[in-house]
């Protein structure tokens, strides 16, 4: 190897600018970054625009009454979204009620009470539960959960609470309640994992202050820790609610798929997403197709609003604690 040392100053370097090749590479790089980012933004804008465009015929034909008309009749070409909105809202409400309680409780246990040797495997399992594909949930719901509820739990509830309209009527196994519970299982991991992180993020000084005032750990959690993480936990629940609202395949498999509004939670129902899933490839008229696309548009707008609110809630909590989200 040559050890002849060049004088540093003899190296050819242009004094002011990059070589043409480097300047081009740098330019291409910057353009690439901006182009990719623009592509992403255009995709989202395109998503919205295409849904509006596709549902235009239906938007014009039915106007806002699409939202509260309960007739869904492909033969007469009359379409209204109310039964699906009802099914979606009720099944998601059941889901978030159950998943909210179970998920937050699990989060409290994992973040505050469980020793690491217990918390770690449980957290791991709960996170893996979130990864189970919805078609597998649907399969399990159809062949295990629905028969079990239909033969055991639903009759039991009806025997004691059957006087309430919500628990009256025929029992089929599949229906609103089954769908709601299955959705609850699917969104529990979302609530539990996010709420656990948010609870852990509550500053320790708050806990210590409460303990030093003579509160027990449980009282500290209930009166100090949970309230200070409240905005974020609500955000986590709203996020999970968003997932339940849009879940398609699992709901389709257990909700019964009947476009009727019934007071009973045991009755079959239909959701926005499952009617799209079932009828889209069979839609014969262009108005029918357009009406289905409008259901998709409603779903998109709802999920956009719900998720937007969830993010803002969680950001506001982390911000208020002086953290970068």
């Amino acid at each position: 190897m040559s050890l002849e040392l060049d004088s540093p100053r003899t190296v050819e370097v242009s004094q002011r600018g990059l070589t043409a090749r480097q300047a081009i590479a740098d330019r291409v790089f910057r353009i690439g970054l901006v182009a990719a980012t623009l592509t992403f933004v255009i995709l989202i804008a395109g998503l919205f625009a295409e849904l509006v465009h596709g549902s235009w015929e239906s938007l014009v034909a039915f106007g806002p009454k699409f939202l509260w008309s309960s007739e869904w009749n492909p033969v007469t070409n009359h379409f209204g979204a109310l039964p699906f909105i009802y099914g979606t809202v009720v099944s998601s409400a059941i889901a978030i009620l159950v998943a909210g309680v179970v998920g937050i409780a699990a989060a409290v246990f994992l973040a505050e009470f469980a020793p690491p040797a217990v918390a770690r495997p449980i957290s791991f399992f709960i996170e893996l539960l979130a990864a189970v594909p919805s078609v597998v949930f649907g399969l399990w719901g159809l062949f295990v959960l629905a028969p079990f509820l239909g033969s055991t739990v639903d009759p039991f509830i009806q025997r004691y609470l059957g006087f309430l309209p919500m628990f009256s009527g025929g029992i089929y196994g599949i229906g609103l309640l089954t769908a709601g519970l299955l959705l609850a299982l699917m969104i529990v991991p979302t609530v539990a994992a996010i709420a656990r992180d948010l609870i852990q993020a509550v500053p320790n000084e708050l806990r210590e202050a409460s303990i030093s005032l003579g509160a027990t750990r449980w009282e500290t959690v209930v009166h100090v820790v949970l309230p200070s993480a409240r905005a974020g936990i609500v955000g986590a629940c709203v996020l999970a609610l968003g997932r339940a609202l849009g879940e398609t395949i699992a709901a389709t498999m257990v909700i019964g798929n009947r476009p009727a509004i019934s007071a009973s939670l045991f009755a079959p129902s239909y959701t926005l997403s499952s009617v799209i899933a079932n009828e889209f490839t069979e839609a014969t008229s262009s108005l029918y197709l357009s009406a289905l696309l409008e259901l998709g548009l409603i779903l998109f707008v709802i999920s956009f609003i719900v998720n937007g609110c969830a993010r803002i809630l969680m950001w506001s909590m982390l911000r208020s604690q002086g953290r970068r989200p």
């Binding site: 190897m1 040559s2 050890l3 040392l5 060049d6 004088s7 540093p8 100053r9 190296v11 370097v13 242009s14 004094q15 002011r16 600018g17 990059l18 070589t19 090749r21 480097q22």
Partner: protein, 273 residues
């Protein structure tokens, strides 16, 4: 302590040519002024030490000299820095090219974590477009590693990950990496502050040789280090608003024996703060 300091090096190089000249340099972080109106000339093939208490803006000033200050969030600079007569802040001077001519060694060793020892040293020549020729790269690497007094320690494991080296070796690797692009000026920000005394000694020894080919600016907290390695010393101090400026600049021997400013004297005799 003091006798050691008095033994400071007072040999000033014969050839006096200004390699780098800071003229009225000020720098801000957001709206906060960090250094004000600094004028300093750096003589070619000399070593200049920047000294001063913590927070007086030494790092900030050093980072203005190779335009790396402006890469931080909301950071801003004013004034001129002349490199061989050209203001590096001129609109048509590319900062990337400037940084090739003015190398920098950081306070903490920062080898590129995914690269081997050899790849670290050759990363500059390769990715700045100096050369891609394997032989040339090998020569450049050996030369740089020898100058950084690291070659003998790593010559048998050039393909090992850079992170497998000790902290002191990593810092010399970073020096070698900076030298491999053949800069005219080398900026060193407390290069030994994270190292043990033995590694410090090694780096101080190699600095003497560096001055033969480079113009070196070194930030140091350590008075003895400044006295041992530098030809010139600039003493910086922050004012009441914590805005730093240069209080005194003189040949190192002079500043340690006959400081003109009482604040300098306070600092080097340990009476400061």
């Amino acid at each position: 302590m003091q006798p050691a300091v008095v033994a400071a090096k007072d040999t000033v190089p014969d050839l006096v040519e200004i390699a780098l000249s800071a003229q009225a340099v000020s720098a801000w972080y957001g709206s906060k002024l960090a250094i004000r109106d600094i004028n300093l000339d750096f003589i070619r093939n000399s070593i200049t030490a920047l000294m001063g208490p913590s927070g007086c803006g030494k790092t900030t000033f050093l980072r203005c000299l190779n335009r790396i200050h402006e890469s931080a969030l909301d950071a801003r600079t004013a004034g001129k820095v002349l490199l061989a007569g050209t203001n590096i802040y001129d609109a048509d001077v590319n900062p990337v090219v400037t940084r090739r001519r003015i190398g920098m060694v950081f306070q903490r060793p920062n080898p590129f974590p995914t690269m081997s020892i050899l790849e670290n040293v050759t990363s500059g020549p390769r990715y700045t477009g100096m050369t891609n020729e394997p032989r040339e790269l090998a020569d450049l690497a050996e030369e740089a590693l020898r100058r950084a007094a690291l070659f003998d320690e790593v010559k048998d494991k050039l393909r090992d990950p850079a992170l497998s080296l000790s902290g002191g070796q990593q810092q010399r690797l970073c020096i070698a990496r900076a030298l491999a692009v053949k800069p005219e000026v080398l900026l060193m920000d407390e290069p030994t502050s994270a190292l043990d005394p033995l590694s410090t000694l090694k780096i101080e020894e190699l600095m003497e040789h560096l001055a033969a080919d480079f113009t070196v600016v070194i930030v140091t907290h350590n008075l003895q280090q400044a006295a041992r390695v530098s030809h010139f010393t600039a003493f910086m101090l922050g004012d009441a608003d914590r805005v730093g400026s240069v209080v005194e600049f003189a040949p190192t021997g002079e500043i340690f024996t006959h400081p003109k400013d009482s604040r300098t004297e306070d600092y080097i005799t340990g009476r400061f703060g």
